[in-house]
């Protein structure tokens, strides 16, 4: 007889990705392939100033000299960079001032994803920038935010309307030649979000960007730039989905965050790109460079991420703690199932005095997936009294998956205190049986246990996201005990 748990495992791991639909819209696409002309064409499409084009070309030349990184615990099939479309925009002039101008198909798409573009329908506490394929289609609540001097717009708009800010900060945290994918992004990025919080302003609502890949054979390369001036505060969230397709799609993004003196930024991600089917076919390659700098004294940057999607994830949201007394936190849940692979973690670079950081990473592996935590804690020469606490837990479901931890610690100052704790556990049959005996079915029991395990991280997410993240964990995993 098939064991109950195995049955549930089979049923649930075969459950469908519910964001996998495709929207039929006319798209303005450029031909496949990547060369200097492609870069120029993208820049031209976006009507960019010369300095922006120069930045792109510099990055592209750098990229040509670089090789794809191979140090991660990932098995990445060869990617043909000439076989990708680098720009695809829903036809109609992008950037809609009024809702009526938006293609109803696009509107319907985001309604279906639970991201209504209509401000009336949205929870009043969240402003959203919506990016579909290569362009931002709508940013809500811009006027409300502008009253406080907050700039929240697509990256393209920022290039046009706030060139000084973009010029000053773009590439200041993630230089164009930082790594292979950062260079690629810097050359061909098409849009993204820009956010500027002026001095002493507390952003009154959650800001969020919702990324959607729709078009076929298209790579998504967006960048986000967040600047929090002195004593300001903002909470920022990003979410993402993609259609189910048999071929892999490339997503290489950059996020740069600058946090000034006494300012605080919270950055939350719920990453749910299409993970591929249960045989490991298709899915998004998610190669992302996210980095923030705590530039001023007493600044604070918190990362919270729930990663359940993507066929391959390569992502290390990092913080440079430059200002004295600055603080950074990294809370992460990375879940892999079926044939997913994730190599994710963080870097905490302590440069200032009395800086402190906390890393809490919870990996959950199921199916035949591989899940790795990779983290660096670096204490610089001048970082007197720096502190770090790292906790890396792995939870295994079944016996065909892998969990790995690669912590790197590099301390150049003797006054530092660096702690690292790691655990690996399995959901035991006894735990499941205990729940069953109280009337809780195996599926629910696993959801309960996994959410309990991830609670510390989920609690760090903004309310609206936390609920979504909990459901996501349950959907992605229910019953995955073998």
């Amino acid at each position: 007889m098939e064991k109950e748990q195995d049955k549930v495992l089979r049923e649930v791991t075969e459950s469908d990705y519910k964001y996998g639909f495709v929207t039929e819209i006319d798209a303005d696409e450029i031909p496949k392939g990547l060369n200097h002309e492609t870069v120029r064409l993208i820049s031209k499409k976006k009507n960019e100033p010369q300095w922006m084009l120069d930045f792109r070309l510099k990055a592209f030349d750098k990229w040509l000299t670089m090789k794809m990184p191979n140090w991660a615990h990932l098995n990445i099939p060869e990617i043909d960079y000439q076989d990708i479309i680098y720009y695809s925009a829903p036809k109609q002039e992008p950037k809609y001032t009024s809702l009526d101008e938006i293609d109803p198909e696009i509107k319907a798409t985001f309604d279906k994803l639970g991201i209504p573009l209509d401000e009336q329908k949205r929870l009043s506490g969240v402003a959203v920038d919506v990016v579909m394929d290569s362009v931002s289609v709508k940013t809500t609540f811009q006027e409300t935010l502008a009253e406080k001097g907050i700039i929240f717009c697509s990256f393209s708009e920022a290039v046009q309307n706030h060139p000084d800010l973009v010029k000053k900060y773009m590439g200041s945290v993630v230089p164009y030649g930082d790594n292979f994918f950062a260079a690629l992004n810097s050359a061909v990025f098409s849009d993204g979000s820009f956010c500027y919080i002026p001095k002493n302003v507390r952003c009154p609502m959650e800001l969020s960007t919702y990324f959607r890949i729709n078009a076929m054979n298209t790579g998504q390369f967006e960048r986000t730039l967040i600047i929090a001036e002195e004593a300001s505060y903002v909470s920022y969230m990003e979410g993402c989905t993609a259609p189910m397709r048999d071929e892999n799609q490339l997503h290489a993004a950059i996020v740069e965050i600058i946090v000034m003196k006494d300012a605080e930024v919270k950055y939350s991600t719920v990453q749910n790109w299409y993970p591929g089917n249960k045989e490991g076919k298709g899915g998004v390659y998610n190669f992302v460079t996210k980095r923030g700098i705590c530039k001023g004294e007493n600044s604070k940057l918190s990362w919270a991420q729930v990663e359940t999607g993507s066929a391959i994830t390569w992502k290390y949201p990092s913080t440079i703690l430059k200002g004295d007394n600055s603080v950074s936190e990294f809370y992460s849940v990375a879940l892999t199932n079926n044939f997913q692979q994730a190599d994710t973690g963080t870097k905490m670079i302590h440069l200032g005095k009395n800086t402190s950081s906390i890393i809490v990473s919870k990996g959950i592996s199921a199916g035949k997936s591989e899940n790795s935590y990779r983290g660096l804690v670096k204490i610089g020469k001048n970082a007197e009294n720096a502190r770090n606490f790292s906790q890396c837990d792995s939870l295994l479901l079944g016996d065909k998956c892998g969990a790995h931890t690669f912590p790197y610690i590099d301390v150049e100052n003797e006054s530092a205190i660096v702690e690292h704790e790691a655990t690996t556990s399995k959901i035991s049959e006894d735990q499941i049986f205990y729940c069953n005996q109280r009337g809780i079915a195996t599926e629910e029991a696993i959801g309960l246990i996994v959410n309990g395990y991830a609670k510390e991280v989920i609690n760090k997410l903004p309310m609206e996201f936390a609920v979504e993240a909990q459901k996501l964990l349950q959907i992605s995993l229910e019953g995955s005990v073998g």
Partner: protein, 250 residues
């Protein structure tokens, strides 16, 4: 309520139960006593559906239905409750969340709407008082960091919350000091109604000072070899299990 006929069960080829028969009616408390290795815990495992044990022969009817047709959580939803000898720790899952899920799952199976958070918290407070459970246990993760006594009390608390028809207390007295024993027993006594029944599995007589059984059965070598009223427990205490063994040999 529960009829066990000629039950044979084994674990990894080793025969443990060898023809056990027992009948439990509503309102009754049955004590099952026996020396180590006689099959006491196997009985509770088979009743709750533990897959490590294989039933090779015999029948169990619960409320007229073939018990073997129900999986674990269906048995729980049908009102069978096991107070575990070794309750499992579930890190990260708060008792509140755990109990709320359990209570609402059981309500769902009875076509009742889920309890609201307000209702639930009130109900939980009442039940906590009933079993004299310290209030902070409810906010901690299920059994994590609980002392032996707290774990057992927590089992009785869950029993109070879930109001089973048939409660099986598997060695609930093991590892308890006399105060904890009293509290646990009080809980069981308070939860007793004419409609529900309990099977108290124990090695020692002392729990039966507090929970007075209607019947005492002696389990020996996989079979019930002697059944009588509560006085049998005292006799056993006095004479020891060797007495039964000798009697059987005669």
């Amino acid at each position: 309520m529960l009829v066990i006929k000629n039950l044979h069960a084994e674990i990894s080829g080793k025969k443990i139960l060898k023809g056990l028969s027992l009948e439990v009616k509503p309102g009754e408390i049955h004590a099952i006593m026996g020396p180590n290795g006689s099959g006491k815990s196997t009985l509770s495992a088979v009743l709750t559906g533990n897959e490590n044990f294989t039933v090779t022969e015999g029948e169990i009817y619960y409320e007229g239905k073939d018990l073997f047709q129900l999986n674990f959580e269906e048995r729980a939803k049908a009102g069978i409750f096991l107070s575990f000898q070794y309750p499992v720790e579930i890190p990260g899952v708060s008792m509140i969340n755990f109990m709320k899920t359990a209570v609402n799952e059981q309500r769902k199976s009875k076509n009742l709407p889920p309890m609201s958070s307000g209702e639930f918290l009130k109900y939980m407070r009442e039940m906590k008082d009933l079993v004299e459970l310290k209030s902070d246990l409810a906010n901690r993760s299920v059994n994590v960091g609980f002392s032996g006594g707290e774990k057992k009390r927590n089992e009785i608390f869950q029993m109070a919350m879930l109001k089973p028809k048939l409660a099986i207390l598997d060695e609930t007295d093991s590892g308890l000091d006399i105060d904890a024993l009293r509290v646990v027993a009080n809980g069981v006594n308070k939860l007793k109604t004419p409609e529900n029944a309990s099977i108290v599995i124990t090695h020692y007589q002392r729990l039966l000072d507090f929970i007075v059984p209607d019947f005492v059965h002696v389990l020996y070598d996989g079979k019930i070899v002697k059944s009588a009223g509560k006085e049998l427990a005292l006799e056993l205490e006095e004479k020891g299990y060797n007495w039964i063994q000798k009697e059987l040999e005669v």
